[in-house]
Structures are given as structure tokens and as C-alpha cells.
């Protein structure tokens, strides 16, 4: 009985290990497939189409998080992928990670370029402000948690590079190393910077909640 139980356990653990190994193998294969896709996408429209399908949602959502307006996010997303289509032949990266970093870099550039113009930035703030006006979090109570429009307004008061770090870290859930690769700074610097950004963001958020413009 005991032996049976031991065998059962061994079998169960073995199955788990096997499944895990198969899963890991599948991930490796998938990863290799995606890397292959990146190489093929330089000359093959189908491969590029598959990469697009893989990344469209993420890039669109990144744009929404950076630009608040879905309509504007669609425009910038279009611009990002059309840039990719135009430049992919000259892309030197070898892996999916390289492609992702490149894609985010393009998206960051384009969103920052959009926000850099004061009139556009003002429009986004107004849009966010209008949205926050209809929410139920217009209290100045410290315990109140900000909604998305309020948080967006606070984020938009940061420097563009800091906005990018916040978005990549908290909305895109990238780790410090990935963020460092995308915006070309050391991961440790990202960490330290983020600490400062959050402090700043808290102040901004408080001022937005207090009704300051």
C-alpha cells in the first residue's frame, strides 16, 4: 500500500514534472518560433502580419494609457505600425525581445511627440478632466482613491520620460530590465527614478484631487 502510494506520488510528481517540462519546452519552441517570425518579417508579409496580431493590443493599450483618448490612441497606433512596416527591412534585431523593445520605442517616441505639443496636451487634460467630473471621486478626502482620469491628469504632469516609465511599469507590467532596454537606461536607474516619480506623482495626484489645475 505504502509502496503503491509512493509509486502514485512518484507518478503524480513525474507527471507534473513532465507537464512542466513539456510546457517549458513548448514555451521555448514558441519563443523560437517568435524569434523566427521576427527574422522572417523583414521580407515576409505573413510573418509581419503575425507579429502585428501578437502586438496590436499591447501597443494600442499603451497608447490609450499614454493618451487617454481611444480615438487618439488609434491614430498613434496606426502611425506606429505603419512605421514598423516601413522600416522593418532595416531592423537589425534578432529576437522577439528586440522587436518588442523596438516597437515600444517607436510607440514611446510617437506618443511623446504627440503630447509634446502644448495644445494637444491641453486637449488631453481637458478630456480627462471632463471625464473625472462625472465620476464619484470628486472628494478631497485623503482616503479617496483616484479614478483613471484623475490619475491620468496627474501622470501627465510628469516629465515625458517619467510618464513613459510609469506607463511601462504599472500599465504594461514590464520589469526594470525591459524598461531599461526600451528607454536606454540602466535598470537600477529605472528603479531609483521610479521611486522619485511616485513621490512626485503623489503630490500631483493630491493637487488634482484638490481641484488645482
Amino acid at each position: 500500500m505504502i509502496i503503491f502510494a509512493i509509486l502514485c506520488n512518484i507518478f503524480t510528481y513525474g507527471a507534473i514534472i513532465l507537464v512542466t517540462m513539456v510546457g517549458a519546452m513548448a514555451e521555448i519552441v514558441r519563443q523560437k518560433d517568435t524569434d523566427e517570425l521576427v527574422l522572417q518579417a523583414r521580407t515576409d508579409a505573413d510573418a509581419l502580419g503575425q507579429l502585428y496580431d501578437l502586438y496590436y493590443d499591447r501597443i494600442f493599450q499603451f497608447c490609450v494609457h499614454r493618451l487617454f483618448s481611444k480615438e487618439t490612441a488609434e491614430d498613434i497606433t496606426s502611425s506606429v505600425f505603419l512605421t514598423v512596416a516601413d522600416r522593418i527591412r532595416g531592423f537589425k534585431g534578432q529576437t522577439q525581445a528586440d522587436f518588442q523593445n523596438w516597437l515600444y520605442a517607436i510607440a514611446i517616441n510617437q506618443t511623446n511627440a504627440y503630447i509634446r505639443k502644448t495644445s494637444r496636451r491641453q486637449k488631453l487634460l481637458e478630456e480627462a478632466s471632463a471625464s473625472s467630473g462625472v465620476s464619484d471621486t470628486d472628494s478631497a478626502d485623503d482616503s479617496a482613491e483616484p479614478n483613471w482620469p484623475v490619475l491620468y491628469q496627474a501622470v501627465l504632469r510628469l516629465k515625458p520620460k517619467h510618464q513613459t516609465i510609469v506607463t511601462l511599469r504599472f500599465f504594461e507590467n514590464l520589469d526594470f530590465e525591459q524598461i531599461g532596454q526600451i528607454i536606454k537606461i540602466r535598470p537600477a536607474t529605472v528603479r531609483v527614478t521610479l521611486h522619485r516619480i511616485l513621490k512626485q506623482l503623489r503630490n500631483h495626484l493630491q493637487s488634482v484631487l484638490d481641484g488645482e489645475k
Binding site: 509581419l48 502585428y52 490609450v64 481611444k70 505600425f81 522600416r87 485623503d142 483613471w148
Partner: protein
């Protein structure tokens, strides 16, 4: 409110963000993107490579600065070396608008930064070619050409005073002068050798080279066609003579050991200049074609002390250019410009002598011209130079006909048409150097030397109303001559009065009644009877600011018209009345001159001088190199 990163992450996760994509946008963008991709696949690899290189450059500041430095070097280096040579290879012709100068032939400094010349007032001036700033180096008495020293520090010029001619070297900076040579006779400075040891001048008709150290003179020829010029090495001198109607370009060693001639050019050679490197002599070549006269710039190669090959044409149609000099920096300076003056007509009332309208240009002409009315007042005969008489319609200015005078008779004095219409009388000279009063047959242009003269040219021959006698001025006296016997007779008294000595007598005009001849003496117009026995005053100009430069009678003898050497035309009654201005011609040109009252009395023609000079430089035109 969040306290740390975890709190903030929690906060964000709880946000209700509408970030769900729109499927239609996703699909449309997919198609659009793939379409762009297919187009980009068709791009040339070079463009991709360029994009790639560009991206690599733009990656960091270091690569950006490095690239900028490479581009700057790539641009500046050729500019300072190869491109400079390339640019120098282009022919360039440009104006020197800063030079506002009207005077004797000027010259560009060796570095091309200054222009020197002698004004009509005899002042040696230096003009900055960039700014136009003009400095006066001498007050007066200078005359003729100027020549820069090879180092640009001095300017050679002739100063004439009291019958003495001094060749001066004037400091271009301070105006300080030193004498190079003194001369009792009239000389025209032509060149100064680059080593400063020789000058070339023209004395009378002879081109002469003078050694400034020992004053030894070398007469290069008996007669010159173009003045002597020294080579840049100062070892050769070139000049032009004419023998048997053919221009000969001479190339002579200064020490006299060699003398080459080029005599095969099918035309006239004038204004020869050495190229700054001494390898060419360029000259203005004048050739008569069947259709027109050609004046082009030609270049003849010089090697050692010999001519090499035949001249080659280098610049066409240079007839309007008067070459100044070819400076060491490679700029050939020349003068050209507009001749906007001409012969004008002014309607007048014979009774009052006053103008009845505004002046009108009858025909455009360069400089001063000599002209006269036909007896019927319908034509105007103009001596246009180059031995030609042109007959114009007095109403329209159109040319009716032209006659060439034998031996190319020239004149610079007033001419006159006989009242019987048969003759035109002029005082001048011909190609054979016959000088005197000529009778020209109007119909045929044939000429007869009525009064041969020596020395100066006689003044203003004028007809008696019966067409039998001519009066003219000569050496301060007035003479009459019967055209049958050709024997001149002086009618004016010997010059005893101080006024006569100072002013001389000149520009006679037969009185309409034929009994006397009027002429200018200072501020007065006197008339002496043709027997010389009686002289009376016709007019006395009391206006201190005006002079009587030249005058004419009205056909009825009641007025004279005169020009006071400015932009005005005046009329004066001959009965002692006050003179009055009948026209201000300042809007027409620089000066007005030679009023001639028409035989019918309805108009006065006059000459307007209106020259606008420009100075230009030409570089790299020797494409024969």
C-alpha cells in the same frame, strides 16, 4: 492615497480603463500596414542602407558630432583646395558699382582692391572698389593715364604746370610725391615696368622707353598705333605700329637683344595688354566684315621673347569696352557704359527768341558731335566720326544718307553748310595728316583742302550768306578766305589787349547780313567787318557765373543763342537787351553745347553730353589655356 510602488500597482489594477481595441481599426490597420510593407519591399537597397546608416548616426551624440565633423571637413576641404581651383576656372564678369569715376583712363591696383584715375579737374584719386570711398591724392594739374607700381604702393602720373611736365610717383596711402622724370614737351604716360626701372611714354607720335636711372631714352618707333607695355617680368616691351595699312605687334627685349614682330593679323590691333603671368598678350582686334565691323578680344601666346602660333579669339564683341589694365590678381578692368545723349531740338519763336516747347531728342549719339543745318532747314548734316558725314531729317532724325569722306577726314570743330547748298566746310585733318579747312561737296562727298594749315586745328569755319567767303578762327585771330582763291586774310587786330590775350578769340560766326563776322572774346561777342576796319560789341555778358562757350546767330540777326558750359541754353538780344535762359537741360544729361539756330528760325538744335560710365572686371576668360 498610495504609499509605495505596491500600493500604486494595486491602484492601477483597480482602475476601470476602457482600453479595449476596436476590431475594425485593428483589421483596417493590418491591411494598411501590409500594403505599406509591400511597397517598402520594392525600395532600392541603397535607400535601406542609407536609412540604416542614418539611424546608426542618430543613435548617440558622439556619432552625431562625428558625422557633423566629417561632413564639415568634407565640405570645407574641397572648398579650400580643389573647389577653389574649380571656381577659379569659371569665367567671371562682374561690375564694380562702387566706382563712380569720370575722367582719364584709370587703373586697378595689383590686388584689385583700389582703382586710381585722374579726374577731368586734374586730381589724382583712389577709389576703394568695395566701398566706393574716394581719396584725393593730388589737388590738380595731373593729366592722362595712371600706372600702379608692381607692389601697389605708388601710382605714376604726369603733372603738367606752366609748360613743364613732371612724371610723378605718388604714394597711394599718403599722397606724398617724388619726381621720376621732368620733360618740357608734352608726354603721355603709358606704362611703368614692374621692376620700377623703366617707363614708357608717347611723345608726339613716338613711343619712347625711358630708363629712369640714367634717363637714357629709346625711341621704339616713329609712329605708334598702340602704346608700349612692359611684360610682367620686366624683360620685354610690346607695342603696335602700322605699316602699309597693316597692324604690327612688336615684342622687343628691353636690352635690345631681340625683336619679334607679328604682322599677320587681318585687321587692326589696339589696346594690347599682358596677361599677369606673361604668357599671353591680348588685344582688341578690329576687322571689317562684309556685314559689319567686328571688334573682338584676341590672345597671342608668348614664349621667351617670341610669339607662338596665331592669335585666338577669346571674348567676342568687345567694341564697347575700353580696357584699363590687367591687374596682377587676374582681373582685367574695363570701362563701358551708356551714351544717353545726342542731338536735341528745341522749338523757338524767332521774334522773341523764347522757347515755345520742350527739348526733344532728335537722334541719340555718343559724346560731342559736329553738325550743321541745311540751308532749307530740312536736314542736319552730322560728322559722325571715322571720316563719315550723315544727313538726317531735321523733323524725324531719320538718316537720309551717309557719305564717306576721302582719306577719312576727321574734325572736332563746328561745321557749316553753304547757303547755296553746294558745300559743307569743315576744319580738320585726314589720314595723310593734311590739316586745314576742307570744302566737302554735299552731293558726292568729294573734298578739297581749301586752306592748308600747320599746327592747331582752325576753329569753326562759317559761311558768308553769299556762299563766297568762309571765316574761321586760328591761333586767336579770325580769318576770312574767298573760296575762289583760297587766300586767307586776317580781319582781327593784333592781340594787344589783355582781355584778348587771356581769352583769345574763337568760334566765329558770319553775321546774317554778311558784312561782319562775330566771335567770342571772354564774356563779350564782338563783330568785325570783313575788311577788318571796324569792330563793335554785339553782346556783353554781365552775369559773373556764366560764360559764353559757343554761340550762333538767329537768322534775322536780332538774337544770339549761347551755351554757358552747363545745362542751360541762353538767348540774348543783339540790341543790348538783357539775356535770358530759354531752356534748362539738366534732366537730359551732364552738359549741353553747340546750339545752332535753324535757317527758318523755328528751332534750335543742340548737343547733349550724357555718358554713364561703368567699370567691370573680367576673369578667367583665357579659355585658350
Amino acid at each position: 492615497m498610495f504609499k509605495n510602488e505596491s500600493d500604486f500597482k494595486e491602484l492601477v489594477s483597480q482602475l476601470n480603463i476602457d482600453d479595449k481595441p476596436n476590431p475594425s481599426h485593428q483589421e483596417n490597420l493590418r491591411q494598411q500596414m501590409l500594403s505599406v510593407f509591400k511597397e517598402s519591399v520594392q525600395q532600392k537597397p541603397k535607400i535601406i542602407l542609407l536609412q540604416s546608416v542614418w539611424r546608426t548616426i542618430m543613435k548617440s551624440r558622439i556619432t552625431k558630432f562625428a558625422t557633423a565633423a566629417v561632413i564639415a571637413v568634407a565640405v570645407l576641404l574641397p572648398l579650400s583646395y580643389g573647389a577653389t581651383k574649380l571656381i577659379k576656372g569659371f569665367i567671371s564678369i562682374r561690375q564694380l558699382p562702387a566706382i563712380k569715376y569720370d575722367g582719364w583712363g584709370g587703373a586697378l591696383s595689383p590686388d584689385g582692391k583700389h582703382f586710381a584715375g585722374v579726374t577731368w579737374r586734374g586730381q589724382l584719386v583712389v577709389i576703394d572698389t568695395s566701398t566706393g570711398e574716394k581719396r584725393k591724392l593730388t589737388e590738380k594739374n595731373c593729366t592722362g593715364n595712371v600706372v600702379w607700381s608692381a607692389d601697389g604702393s605708388e601710382i605714376a602720373v604726369v603733372s603738367s604746370s606752366g609748360g613743364n611736365n613732371t612724371l610723378l610717383a605718388v604714394s597711394a596711402k599718403t599722397g606724398k610725391t617724388r619726381s621720376l622724370m621732368e620733360e618740357q614737351r608734352w608726354i603721355e604716360l603709358e606704362d611703368w615696368s614692374p621692376d620700377g626701372k623703366f617707363i614708357s611714354v608717347v611723345r608726339a607720335t613716338k613711343p619712347v622707353m625711358v630708363n629712369l636711372e640714367n634717363k637714357k631714352e629709346t625711341v621704339l618707333a616713329e609712329e605708334w598705333e598702340a602704346p608700349p607695355r612692359f611684360s610682367p617680368n620686366a624683360d620685354l616691351v610690346s607695342y603696335v605700329t602700322k605699316e602699309a595699312g597693316r597692324s604690327i605687334l612688336h615684342l622687343q627685349k628691353i636690352d635690345g637683344t631681340s625683336h619679334a614682330k607679328y604682322m599677320d593679323f587681318p585687321g587692326g590691333i589696339s589696346q594690347p595688354l599682358w596677361s599677369p603671368d606673361g604668357s599671353y598678350i591680348v588685344f582688341k582686334g578690329t576687322q571689317k566684315g562684309v556685314d559689319r565691323e567686328y571688334k573682338d578680344l584676341w590672345a597671342l601666346r608668348v614664349q621667351g621673347s617670341q610669339f607662338v602660333g596665331a592669335p585666338l579669339p577669346v571674348v567676342p564683341d568687345v567694341g564697347q569696352m575700353e580696357f584699363c589694365n590687367w591687374s596682377q590678381n587676374g582681373q582685367l578692368a574695363y570701362q563701358t557704359g551708356f551714351s544717353l545723349g545726342g542731338i536735341f531740338t528745341l522749338p523757338v519763336d524767332l521774334q522773341t527768341g523764347k522757347a515755345t516747347g520742350s527739348p526733344r531728342q532728335l537722334v541719340r549719339a555718343r559724346g560731342w558731335k559736329m553738325y550743321c543745318w541745311s540751308p532749307d532747314g530740312k536736314q542736319i548734316a552730322v560728322h559722325v566720326g571715322q571720316g563719315k558725314l550723315t544727313f538726317l531729317s531735321a523733323s524725324t532724325g531719320e538718316q537720309i544718307r551717309e557719305v564717306s569722306l576721302p582719306e577719312g577726314i576727321e574734325t572736332n570743330k563746328r561745321i557749316s553748310w553753304s547757303p547755296d547748298g553746294k558745300w559743307i566746310v569743315l576744319s580738320g585733318w585726314d589720314r595723310e595728316n593734311k590739316n586745314g579747312v576742307f570744302l566737302i561737296t554735299v552731293e558726292t562727298g568729294e573734298a578739297k583742302l581749301l586752306v592748308p594749315l600747320e599746327g592747331p586745328i582752325a576753329f569753326s569755319p562759317t559761311w558768308s550768306p553769299d556762299s563766297k567767303t568762309i571765316a574761321y578762327g586760328y591761333k586767336g585771330d579770325v580769318y576770312v578766305v574767298n573760296i575762289e582763291d583760297g587766300k586767307p586774310r586776317r580781319i582781327t587786330a593784333p592781340q594787344e589787349k589783355r582781355e584778348y590775350k587771356e581769352a583769345g578769340r574763337g568760334r566765329p560766326v558770319f553775321a546774317p547780313d554778311g558784312r561782319s563776322v562775330a566771335y567770342i572774346v571772354g564774356k563779350r561777342v564782338l563783330a568785325t567787318t570783313i575788311d577788318g576796319k571796324e569792330t563793335r560789341e554785339i553782346f556783353h555778358l554781365k552775369n559773373e557765373k556764366l560764360i559764353i562757350n559757343v554761340f550762333d546767330w538767329s537768322p534775322d540777326g536780332r538774337h544770339i543763342v549761347f551755351t554757358p558750359a552747363n545745362n542751360e541754353i541762353w538767348c540774348a538780344p543783339t540790341d543790348g537787351g538783357e539775356p535770358f535762359r530759354i531752356a534748362d537741360t539738366s534732366n537730359l544729361g551732364q552738359n549741353s553745347w553747340l546750339p545752332r539756330w535753324s535757317p527758318t528760325g523755328e528751332a534750335i538744335v543742340f548737343n547733349v553730353y550724357h555718358e554713364k560710365y561703368q567699370y567691370w572686371v573680367m576673369e578667367n576668360f583665357l579659355s585658350v589655356e
